[in-house]
């Protein structure tokens, strides 16, 4: 039987050229070596790869001689028997050999199916040099990012908001809308960090004052009426209009709590109100709020009105009438007392001498000083009212009788008791017994004289109680103990002695709108602010004016001054009777004294 080998070659233009060679032998070889009948120029094929033998029954046997296999109909083999009449396809490397039979013999059609090399394979030159296929495509990753970002940053937080709406307190678990937080809350609001909806209640509606007042009902004292506040602030000017335009376009009414109390500014204490916020209204306020009684203020060092203490109009009563008078008008104040500071503080004279005499008992110095009479209150902010018994009676004694070593004093503050005590004194004591009565030692000669002395004494004894009225009058009149310090109301009718004491009011705080702590000024002498040593009258109002304060305190921007001071150092926007917020915060930090380096806001 003849083997016919047909080699099919493909030209570059795709035409097939068939060369046919008959081999009239029993066995032919397959391999890369040119000596083989079936010569495969294929590096994947061994030089002598396999042999094909005829069998007597007309079948052929294909057997590997190199140890390398081949495929029969795609299946890997080392040795196979084929019926050429049925046909088969053998695979050697990149070639296939189709086996068939016709009358002339067994035909092997050889054809290359794989390219010689990988580079020879057809490929798109437009993309082969690009990164296509090596990285995820830009389009796919762009849209993936869009979806991820919108889902994580927008849909999820809105879903959280929607599902927790109307619930009083959210759980401590993570809530996606916290991703929207533009910064940590201040320490006061730290507990709300996870509960956005505690303040941000409705979507696209700004934080409302009513929400703040849920917790701050008691401490958010009104600064002024809202409509007056807005009038005082005036319309936004210049570039501020941009912010106002945004605010009005997006439903953000002006004058809300959060406008000053900005949150999400980072962990720590909420910053005190910036001076700018005060100056926004108070600088040139009379031009906008034309009926205001307040004077303009922008900065303590630049524009600040003279102090206007609340001066007593009339002492006495629980809430005596007061009037705010500028210190520039040199106000005086009658508080019901007489007290010349100059006499008491003089380094010479009777008061100083008396002080020296009593120094061992009362710890006085060479002359009297302020602290000998004035006692700071427990906070050191202001002073206790001067107390007669504690602060005056060391010198100004009300003693009138000594019984067995005990000194009896008139009762301070109770004129009727004073009168009663004096009357009792004169009723219970006799006049001094004359030494010439009832004896002969110093008697003048003559019985008449003895009788005269006896009758004089008897008369003195009889009239002794009536002496009380005279003594009472003396106590309440010029030269008397009460009159020395107090205003006296005269008796209701001639002959009566129902003298009274005019009411006294000691003022512990003159400036209720501003804060002043004496303790913070401990380094100073009293007299550097209060010119007491030169004061002759108790009616002198010994308050220092703004000029004195400005010797140390400059405004916020006068950093060269000893103490640059913002509005917030003395003033509170939501004032109560206590220290301003800034001072309270400083005291919290154990900074008792305002340092030179004051936080500017």
């Amino acid at each position: 039987m003849t083997f016919i080998v047909r080699q099919i070659a493909v030209t570059s233009d795709g035409r097939e050229i068939i060369r046919s060679n008959p081999f009239d032998v029993d066995q032919i070889g397959i391999g890369r070596s040119a000596a083989n009948a079936i010569h495969l120029a294929d590096l994947a094929v061994s030089p002598d790869h396999a042999v094909i033998r005829n069998r007597d029954d007309g079948h052929i046997v294909v057997e590997s001689t190199s140890g390398q296999g081949f495929t029969l109909d795609g299946r890997q083999s080392q040795s196979v028997t084929i019926d050429p009449a049925e046909g088969a396809e053998l695979g050697f490397g990149g070639h296939i050999i189709t086996v068939s039979a016709d009358d002339e013999g067994t035909i092997f059609t050889v054809k290359r199916i794989d390219a010689v090399s990988d580079s020879a394979e057809t490929r798109s030159e437009a993309t082969v040099y690009t990164l296509k296929g090596l990285l995820p495509s830009k389009r796919v990753s762009a849209w993936s990012f869009v979806i991820i970002a919108l889902a994580a940053f927008l849909v999820w937080p809105i879903y959280t908001w929607a599902t927790w709406q109307g619930i009083e307190e959210r759980s401590d678990a993570f809530h996606a809308d916290t991703l929207w937080s533009s910064g940590d809350l201040s320490s006061a609001h730290h507990s709300l960090e996870n509960d956005c909806q505690a303040c941000h209640v409705d979507a696209f509606v700004t934080v409302k004052d009513s929400t703040c007042l849920t917790c701050h009902e008691d401490d958010a004292h009104d600064h002024a009426k809202p409509n007056r506040l807005l009038t005082a602030r005036g319309e936004p000017e210049g570039l501020e209009q941009i912010g106002a335009a945004f605010a009005s376009a997006f439903n953000k009414p002006p004058g809300r709590c959060v406008e000053c109390h900005t949150e999400h500014e980072g962990e720590g204490v909420m910053q005190p109100t910036a001076q700018q916020f005060c100056a926004d209204c108070h600088d040139g306020m009379d031009g906008r709020l034309t009926d205001t009684k307040l004077e303009n203020a922008s900065d303590f060092g630049i524009t600040h009105p003279q102090f206007r203490p609340a001066v007593l109009v009339q002492p006495g009563g629980k809430n005596p009438q007061r009037e705010r008078i500028s210190l520039d008008d040199n106000p005086t104040e009658y508080n019901g007392l007489k007290f010349p500071h100059d006499v008491h503080l003089s380094k010479t004279g009777g008061v100083a001498q008396m002080g020296r005499r009593l120094s061992a008992k009362y710890d006085f110095g060479p002359s009297l000083v302020c602290k000998d009479c004035h006692t700071p209150d427990p906070n050191g902010v202001r002073f206790e009212p001067v107390d007669m018994k504690e602060d005056c009676s060391m010198c100004h004694s009300l003693a009138f009788e000594e019984i067995g070593g005990t000194i009896r004093t008139l009762r301070h503050g109770e004129p009727s008791q004073v009168r009663a005590d004096l009357r009792a004194f004169y009723r219970s004591t006799g006049p001094n017994r004359p030494i010439n009565l009832g004896g002969i030692e110093r008697r003048r000669p003559g019985a008449d004289n003895e009788t005269r002395v006896a009758s004089d004494y008897a008369r003195a004894v009889r009239f002794r109680p009536s002496r009380a009225n005279l003594a009472i009058s003396e106590v309440f009149s010029r030269g008397g103990a009460c009159y020395d310090c107090h205003g006296i109301t005269p008796p209701t009718a001639p002959g009566r002695v129902d003298y009274g004491i005019k009411p006294v009011t000691q003022t512990d705080r003159y400036m209720h709108k501003g804060w002043f702590s004496h303790e913070a000024h401990n380094d100073e002498d009293c007299s550097s602010c209060h010119n007491a040593p030169a004061s002759k009258m108790a009616t002198d109002l010994l308050l220092p004016g703004i000029k004195t304060c400005r010797e140390c305190h400059g405004g916020e921007f006068q950093t060269a001054s000893d103490v640059p001071s913002t509005c917030a150092m003395c003033h509170d926007y939501h004032p109560d009777d206590g220290a301003p917020w800034l001072i309270k915060e400083q005291q919290k930090d154990k900074q008792k004294l305002p340092d030179k380096k004051i936080v500017s806001r």
Binding site: A41, L43, A44, S46, P47, Q68, V116, S117, D118, S119, A120, R123, E125, Y129, T130, L131, L134, L135, P136, K138, S141, A142, W143, S144, F145, I147, I148, A149, L150, F153, L154, I158, W161, D177, L179, W180, S181, S182, G183, D184, C196, H200, A203, F204, T206, L239, E240, Q241, I242, G243, F246, F250, N251, T262, E265, G266, Q271, Q276, F277, R601
Partner: protein, 293 residues
């Protein structure tokens, strides 16, 4: 000489073309962008915003609005680039403006933050913006430096020619390896069958192919033949060796070309998707600010 002259001219032409978008109209957009940045910085320092600078002040809104509109306009380059025109609003002018205005966004965006950054979506949007800008800066750098390196490497060969060169060498190798033993033929076959464009992104961008079959085949053949006496006449292995060497040189050129070309493209794979991430998070940023107003 003639080819040298052509080469020089073409190189110069390349340089001017690639510098073109930077130097366009006498650095017009660099000047405009610098002015914008200067105005922003000076106004930031002089504008008194209480209590402190942040995105929510009138100044913050202004910068934010400018920044957002600028981002959208910069993104439009992706649409604009598909239509090449000339004139003062030519694509080159547009690209020049894109680059310099994009750089000014660093200042506008950063000042808009008021330097208040944190773990939130606002900062995420800022970070996406900075990634886009930084990848853009890489792109500028690549576009300014790579074309010359690429031109030097190509040595006036086109991409098709490089591929043809490889194919030709492969055919010759195939031819010359016919007389080789099965083992030797197998080495050559590995070289032929390896995809010269394969190897993944890291190989492409680094230009390092540690498993190069061509180099391995040559090394193996040489190691084997190092101590064998040189046989006279035609040793087919000599020819294979020479061809492998040629192929390696060509592969090196192709790979350098691939690496440079990858660098020219790779920054866009960050720049473009990040731009979309930026626009999405920017939308979330704006909506969230007004949502929790």
């Amino acid at each position: 000489m003639a080819s040298n002259a052509i080469s020089a001219r073409s190189t110069r032409k390349k340089v001017t073309m690639h510098d073109g978008f930077l130097k366009h109209a006498g650095y017009r957009w660099l000047k405009i962008s610098s002015l914008i940045m200067l105005i922003c910085i000076v106004s930031y320092l002089f504008v008194d915003v209480s209590p402190r600078h942040n995105g929510g002040s009138w100044y913050g809104y202004t910068l934010g609005t400018i920044g957002a509109l600028l981002i959208l306009w910069l993104t439009m380059l992706g649409v604009r680039k598909r239509a090449m025109t000339s004139g003062s609003w030519s694509l080159k002018a547009w690209t020049s403006a894109h680059i310099y205005l994009g750089l000014s966004l660093i200042v506008i965006g950063t000042l808009h933050t008021g330097f208040q950054l944190g773990w939130n979506i606002h900062t995420a949007a800022y970070i996406f913006m900075m990634i886009v800008i930084i990848s853009g800066i890489c792109g500028i750098y690549f576009y300014a430096t790579i074309p010359k390196a690429m031109s030097d490497n190509r040595d006036e060969m086109t991409e098709s020619q490089m591929l043809e060169n490889l194919r030709s060498l492969d055919r010759q190798l195939h031819e010359s390896a016919q007389p080789l033993s099965a083992e030797h033929a197998n080495l050559v076959l590995q070289s032929l069958e390896q995809d010269p464009f394969g190897g993944g992104f890291l190989r492409r961008i680094s230009g390092k192919y540690p498993d190069c079959a061509t180099r391995e085949a040559q090394a193996d053949l040489r190691r084997e033949r190092a101590y064998q006496p040189k046989m006279g006449g035609d040793d087919p292995l000599d020819k294979v060796d020479a061809l492998l060497q040629k192929k390696e040189a060509t592969l090196a050129r192709v790979r350098r070309h691939l690496r440079l070309k990858a660098l020219l493209q790779v920054w866009l794979f960050i720049h473009v998707p990040m731009t979309f991430a930026l626009i999405a998070s920017l939308s979330a940023h704006i909506i969230s600010v007004f949502f929790y107003w």
